[in-house]
Amino acid sequence: MQHIIENIRTEFQQAKQEGHSAQELWQTFLSRNGKISQAFEQITEVDESERKAFGQNLNALKDEIYQEIQELKSQEQSYQEPIEILPISADAIQEERGHISIISQTIYEMQNIFERLGFSVVQGRQMETEWYNFDALNIPAGHPARDMWDTVWVQDTTETEHGTLMRTHTSPVQIRHMEEHKPPYRIIAPGPVYRYEATDATHETVFHQMEGLMVDETTNIATFKGVMETFFRYLFDEEIEIRLRPSYFPFTEPSFEIDLKWPESDEWLEVFGAGMVHKQVLKNVGVNPQYQGFAFGMGIERIIMLKYGITDIRHFHSADLGFIQQF
């Protein structure tokens, strides 16, 4: 029966010589109804003593043909003609790329950097009580400093000692966190804040802040400068210079304004406020005043506007894809 095997081998080589494609050769020899399968079906006709050898030889031939077809196939795949290079087109892909808003992107970028410095994300309420938003931060009712925050007030349905409001800054998150946890603290709290304002290119009734708080037994102004310098260099990936100026916030003492300067620029840009947490604020939440540290509140939109040269803050809430898809 050996001749059957030899015949197939010869037929295969002939077919190959004649230029049959790998696909055709596969069909003729290796497919379910191909010559190898047919030969296997004839195994019952083989003398029982030769069956084993026949099977082995046939299998060897099958492997041999398989190898040759594979080789032929890879030869066929090397192209003779260049492929036409088509321009980029959204139609070429089924799905268009989606976008996370530049606000979320920036918050997450900031989170990444602060997490590397050991700051954990903490979330608070956006509808707050007057106590957490103001009183606990040393801004009692009637205090002139309340003028610094134009507040959107909530109509209280019940008599309450303290009114309800939409938080004007992310600082109440500090207070709630310190009330519930023991020091040391190293937290950030990103989120929306609300203001009663007439909107224009630089004023919005809702925008985002990133609150930060670092309190332990040694954190001082030099630490603050170090953390901020590190943070901004990572955020902007440039040798940003940072400058502190005296300022005033009722919940920090001393208080600063922080200005940034880009390496190629001469101009210092005012970016956010910060300071050493006021001892009275620590007392208000029952933290031993032997602890010390800093707090800051960055306007997210402000930083994005600086980074990308955006001049109108109203873009952020425009929900306009023309804006969203740029980032």
Partner: protein, 780 residues
């Protein structure tokens, strides 16, 4: 607050800094100067000219040609039509490049054939005081070529300080004198002592005063003319039409101490009472504003009536007017907390209230009244100079003839000195807070620079030479009411040392691993998953026309609530983007508000397929499925129902998460509820299959009203019963009139052998039978 640079120079005569340098020093060491404006800008290319001679214009009867010396090597020929032009006059000349206040740009040009090199200007053209016709004639004191900025007192700068930048420093710095004092302290230059007139303590008033409300109250009496002229007026910008009001405003701007002037003839009796108002007491304030007062307001009353709302505003019934010929000047210290509350409640945050509410030292009240006395004396001697206040001498010359002012006595009631509690400050505390190695001596030096009295209680006593760190007792100067804690003193040391000099330090920060906030991370992953599915994140406004949380002062009248759903915002976002013709995918993840809580919601939108809304729902549902898989949420618990056609409710277990509405194409879910209900599952590793899967597609013909969802559930139930069936998935539907054909894709695989055709056929057969047991279905 605006302050002229020349005013700072007046108080700190030895100052060597420029206006810009002063602004820089203040900004870095004290409080921010927003802007420095050079006043001379408007006078660029405008100078004093001397008319050397006047020639006739060869070609025009009403024009002449002036030969004018403007301080250049050659005199200029300037064509002029004014009648009062004559040889020997000093006149204002606008040269080419000058821009007149009305915007006219000057260039040299030919007028009726005669070249004119500039323009001689009238008072009107320069918008300065003077006769309405003809050219403005200047005094002879300035050389030709002198800038008109010098002539009109505008060779000067205005420093603009945002009053909120002062913070509590408003109490010592919200005045010309206060800012100048700060500059003097920062630069080490001497501060000029204000000239004062000290009248006799012979005032005819007695003061009845609650010390809790008012620590000091002074009056000064004077008889006066009704038209005085106030020097240095230009400093305060807007003038009133009463010199007495201008005077009191000026003294307040100058010293920081508000003073009020009453018409003496409108006061009754000789006793002035400072008390709280009766509840409901009425008072007519200046400007005919009728106010209703409470016990929280302090009032000033004569023997019959309330004459002023203390620290806030004077009364209509006692105000000075054009007939006033005798006055009572008030200068006082009032309880700042009362003034704060009153001014805010009545929405009367006057310039006086802004100062009183920050607190003023009692010393300041005395200074205010003595400055008023001094200015009253000055006013009768004051000679209006050309240019000095941009006034024309001729308009005011008649004032100078009348000198009828006479100062009366003062009454001074109350404490005369601020009592500061000394503040304890240890030097290690200063070093630990600032993060610098500053020596004890330097700390003391900085505190003394700002006029604090400093003693070191740890200086080794009798034996001296202690090496112990200093323990300071610090008493601030009377005017620094804000220095009451060690931290405030540390701030003083820090700012004088210079924040720029403090190094950026990270080496001592201990290592700490940030903790993950699970819900925050959940929302973050939600966003990233939607982005990967082609969705774009929008932010919409949180204010709504309806909701549970009503606002007292909504930012927009149409939206008086905080939103309790993201749907309306998303509808607006959809509208906004409908100009994009392609399919749009949007989402928002944000807070919504209920009366007793706030939740996080997600809204998702895909432009609906107009021909086949079911496809759109299928897509959005598949997207949600994908997101939940990425969030490791066991999404088998998600069920949907359609109680009302077009409104598809989505549940997790038994909890309603939200709904998809075919009306607007928006899916809204509560992320909070989903997170709380979700069963999270870690991926389970399963050995990779050794044997191939066998795939079959089968089509069942069912009744048109049988939902594919039901069919899908049956398939899945079956799959769970038969291990060998690895996958069942809906593929397609064909709708006919009396039936529909639904195609499912099936995959079979065994863990221990290659399945034969027969085995799979049996499995499929078994599946079809199982389904046929439940519903009417024909295998086609």
């Amino acid at each position: 607050m605006q302050i002229r640079f020349s005013t700072i120079q007046h108080w700190v005569p030895e100052l060597e800094l420029s206006a810009y340098e002063v602004a820089d020093v203040l900004t870095h060491k004290s409080y921010e100067v927003d802007e420095v404006t050079y006043l001379g800008e408007q006078w660029n290319h405008m100078v004093v000219g001397y008319v050397e001679s006047v020639e006739e214009h060869p070609d025009a009867d009403n024009l002449r040609v002036a030969i004018v010396d403007v301080g250049e090597s050659e005199s200029r020929r300037i064509v002029c039509g004014a009648d009062n032009l004559q040889e020997g006059l000093y006149v204002p000349v606008a040269k080419e490049g000058a821009v007149l206040p009305d915007g006219t740009e000057i260039e040299s040009r030919t007028i009726r054939g005669e070249q004119s090199y500039g323009m001689i200007c009238s008072a009107n053209e320069l918008q300065v005081r003077g006769k309405e016709t003809g050219i403005k004639v200047l005094s002879e004191e300035h050389e030709p070529g002198t800038s008109l900025a010098t002539v009109f007192g505008d060779e000067d700068y205005i420093l603009e300080i945002d009053t909120t930048a002062f913070g509590p420093r408003a109490s010592d710095s919200m005045s010309y004198y206060g800012v100048s004092r700060e500059i003097a302290n920062l630069t080490g230059k001497e501060l000029k002592t204000p000239e004062r007139t000290v009248p006799e303590e012979s005032g005819s008033y007695t003061i009845k005063r609650d010390p809790e409300l008012c620590k000091r109250y002074l009056t000064l009496e004077a008889t006066t003319v009704s038209h005085l002229v106030m020097p240095r007026l230009r400093d305060i910008g807007e003038l009133s039409n009463s010199p007495l009001v201008d005077l009191s405003n000026y003294v307040m701007e100058e010293t920081g101490q508000p003073v009020h002037i009453f018409d003496a003839r409108k006061l009754s009796g000789s006793q002035i009472t400072i008390r709280t108002a009766e509840p409901g007491e009425e008072f007519e304030a200046l400007g005919e504003q009728k106010l209703v007062l409470t016990e929280e307001d302090i009032v000033i009353a004569d023997e019959e009536k309330v004459i002023a709302l203390a620290g806030v505003i004077g009364g209509e019934n006692s105000k000075v007017d054009e007939y006033t010929d005798s006055i009572v000047v008030e200068s006082a210290q009032f309880n700042s907390a009362y003034v704060q509350r009153t001014a805010r409640r009545l929405n009367l945050l006057t310039d006086a209230a802004k100062r009183f509410e920050k607190g003023l030292p009692v010393e300041s009240a005395r200074m205010g009244i003595e400055r008023v006395a001094w200015y009253l004396e000055q006013m009768q001697q004051f000679v209006v100079k050309e240019g000095d206040a941009r006034m024309d001498v001729s308009e005011f010359s008649w004032h100078l003839e009348q000198e009828r002012l006479s100062l009366g006595g003062i009454t001074d009631d109350g404490s005369t000195e601020t009592e500061h509690e000394p503040v304890s400050l240890s030097s290690p505390q200063v070093r630990s807070y600032l993060g610098i190695n500053i020596e004890d001596e330097r700390i003391q030096q900085y505190l003394e620079q700002i006029e604090c009295t400093v003693t070191n209680t740890n200086d080794g006593g009798f034996w001296g030479g202690s090496s112990e760190p200093a323990e300071f007792e610090v008493t601030p100067p009377y005017y620094r009411l804000d220095l009451t804690t060690p931290e405030e003193l540390i701030e003083e040391v820090g700012r004088l040392y210079g924040y720029d000099e403090i190094p950026a330090e990270t080496s001592h920060i201990s290592l700490k691993v940030a903790e993950k906030n699970p819900f925050y991370e959940f929302c973050k992953q939600f966003r990233y998953s939607l982005k990967a599915l082609g969705y774009n994140e929008v932010h919409t406004y949180p204010y709504a026309s309806e909701g549970e949380v009503k606002l007292q002062n909504p930012v927009s009248a149409e939206a008086p609530f905080m939103r309790s759903t993201l749907r309306p915002g998303m509808r607006r976002a959809v509208q906004k983007n409908n100009r994009y013709t392609k399919e749009v995918r949007l989402f928002e993840i944000a807070a919504v508000f209920f009366s007793d809580m706030e939740h996080t919601h997600v809204s998702m939108y895909i432009t609906p397929n107009a021909n086949h809304i079911a496809k759109t729902l299928q897509a959005i549902r598949t997207h949600l499925h994908t997101v939940l898989q990425e969030l490791s949420v066991n999404e088998e618990q998600v069920h949907i129902t359609q109680h009302t056609p077009g409104e598809i409710t989505i549940y997790y277990d038994e909890i309603e998460l939200g709904a998809y509405s075919a009306q607007d194409g928006i899916l809204e879910l509560s992320v909070t509820k989903l997170y709380e209900a979700a069963e999270f599952q870690q991926p389970q590793f399963e050995e990779l299959p050794t044997y191939p899967a066998v795939k079959r597609d089968i089509t069942l013909s069912v009744a048109p009203d049988l939902s594919i969802e039901t069919l899908d559930t049956l398939f899945q139930q079956y799959r769970k019963q038969r291990n060998v069936c690895r996958r069942t998935e809906y593929m397609d539907v064909y709708y006919a009139d009396t039936y529909k054909n639904v195609t499912f894709h099936l995959e079979y695989r065994s863990a221990d052998h290659s399945l034969t055709d027969e085995e799979v056929n049996t499995e499929v057969q078994r599946l079809v039978e199982a389904i046929q047991n439940e519903i009417d279905a024909e295998w086609v």
